[in-house]
Symmetry: C2
Subunit: 273 residues, 2 copies
């Protein structure tokens, strides 16, 4: 973009838009590939409809958990299922705090009310078991348990971090988000850098969404294939086709990719060549 006058909320929306359009993005919805029930248009509708929650975060009013719940509410009126729950978990504190440092300060201030709102947001989605198994979202007593234990939303993320890399970003200072943004800066301007960054992240750590859905072995195989793309012994197109054929969907790294694009845009990286 020539102008860097976009607001934080707009940058978050542009990041969501750029991520879903980036092509070919192995296994995920992109401009040339839909899932049967979740299309490019569903992701883009969410991108548009999340604006009020993102603006709420930008104003720095209200609490993070509640704003995440609003974002999920605003974007759940289509039939495409959950599209951006993980992305909102990262974007809302980033937009609220402005950058990673600010997000960490915001996260440190979460309390039990944020945890309760988060579980309510979670109940609105059909996300594969997200937080700690100890607190089952389908259990009506879950909210009581949160309150009894006085768990903050950060506590919930600590519980979930072992099995969820989005939660891990919260408790470890957004390392993959930071690295993804640095990769974009290194690769230089242009939308093609997004796919290259995405594949590089895939080559680093197993995607926890894949682990939950298909197990560790499949996740490790994705790492190997991503490394083969990086060393030039495999093409990203073949990798994409294979993921689609096997129903492999690196959803958590897609969420982190959105957060990384947001940070990179904030730091002056341009998606235009």
């Amino acid at each position: 973009m020539k102008c860097h006058l976009t607001s934080r909320a707009e940058r978050a929306q542009l990041a969501m838009m750029l991520e879903v359009c980036a092509y070919p993005k192995p296994g995920n919805v992109d401009r040339c590939h839909d899932y049967p029930d979740t299309w490019l248009e569903h992701f883009l509708a969410s991108t548009i409809l999340a604006r009020p929650a993102l603006e709420e975060a930008e104003r720095g009013e209200g609490r993070i958990g509640e704003i995440i719940r609003h974002a999920v509410q605003q974007t759940s009126c289509h039939t495409g299922g959950n599209t951006h729950f993980g992305a909102f978990i990262l974007l809302i504190p980033l937009v609220y705090g402005g950058d990673i440092k600010g997000a960490m300060q915001v996260i440190a201030k979460t309390d039990v009310s944020d945890a309760v709102a988060f579980y309510r947001a979670f109940a609105l989605t059909a996300v594969r078991t997200y937080p700690t198994d100890a607190i089952d979202i389908n259990d009506p007593k879950a909210l009581d348990t949160l309150r009894d234990k006085e768990m903050t939303l950060l506590d919930v993320m600590h519980h979930s971090a072992k099995n969820d890399m989005v939660a891990r970003e919260w408790v470890t200072g957004f390392p993959l988000t930071r690295h993804g943004a640095d990769l974009l800066a290194t690769f230089g301007p242009g939308r093609d850098a997004i796919v290259r960054m995405f594949v590089t992240l895939l080559a680093m750590e197993p995607d926890t969404f894949i682990i939950k859905k298909q197990g560790r072995e499949v996740a490790d195989e994705v790492i190997r294939k991503a490394r083969n793309v990086l060393d030039g012994t495999y093409t990203v197109e073949r990798f994409d086709a294979e993921c689609i054929e096997k129903g492999i969907n690196p959803g958590s790294i897609a969420d982190i990719t959105i957060a990384a694009i947001y940070v990179a845009l904030s730091e002056g990286w341009s998606w235009e060549s």
Copy 2:
């Protein structure tokens, strides 16, 4: 969408998003086709960035000409050139007035200040000669001429209607917009209805953007080809490939398609199957 709780501004954004994603849309940018310098992402960035102007229109504050200028300003910070000028000319009064009837009332109230703001918006874009040749936008005296003649924005559109089908929508009560929305209702829910509606509009009247760029003969040939698609003697894929090869871009009917999707969404049509 399951929910019809979207705001007018959001419906306008969804219409812009759905139009550009619809595929295959002969000659225009779609999810599988960019122009060299104008990409899917530029259209979607405009869709996101136009929100404040669309909200201004929804609040019914301020003047139409000025809001069109704001929309153009907000969406001109990328390098993809003008993406939605014609669409804003239709959407801003529709969002301001709520529907076609309301838009006509809004349009009837435009004055010379709207005309001046419109020409200022026009000067921000690289649009192929839009309004009447009598008032050359490159002439610094153009604004004086508007003021001397006390031309309203509706007057400007009357001057332009002969050579511009978007202007013609203003002065004739949005007939193609109305027909496009009716076609969507007839075709039923689902995004595929958008391409069918677009091709049907192409088969009706010559696209004035094509006439300005490539002449009447090319525009008439597009009508014939669109009719062949409708009668099944030509495929939409071949039609698309031919338009792309020849650089034929039915941009004005794309603008009207956006307005028609907005009206259809307002009347309950759903893009989800």
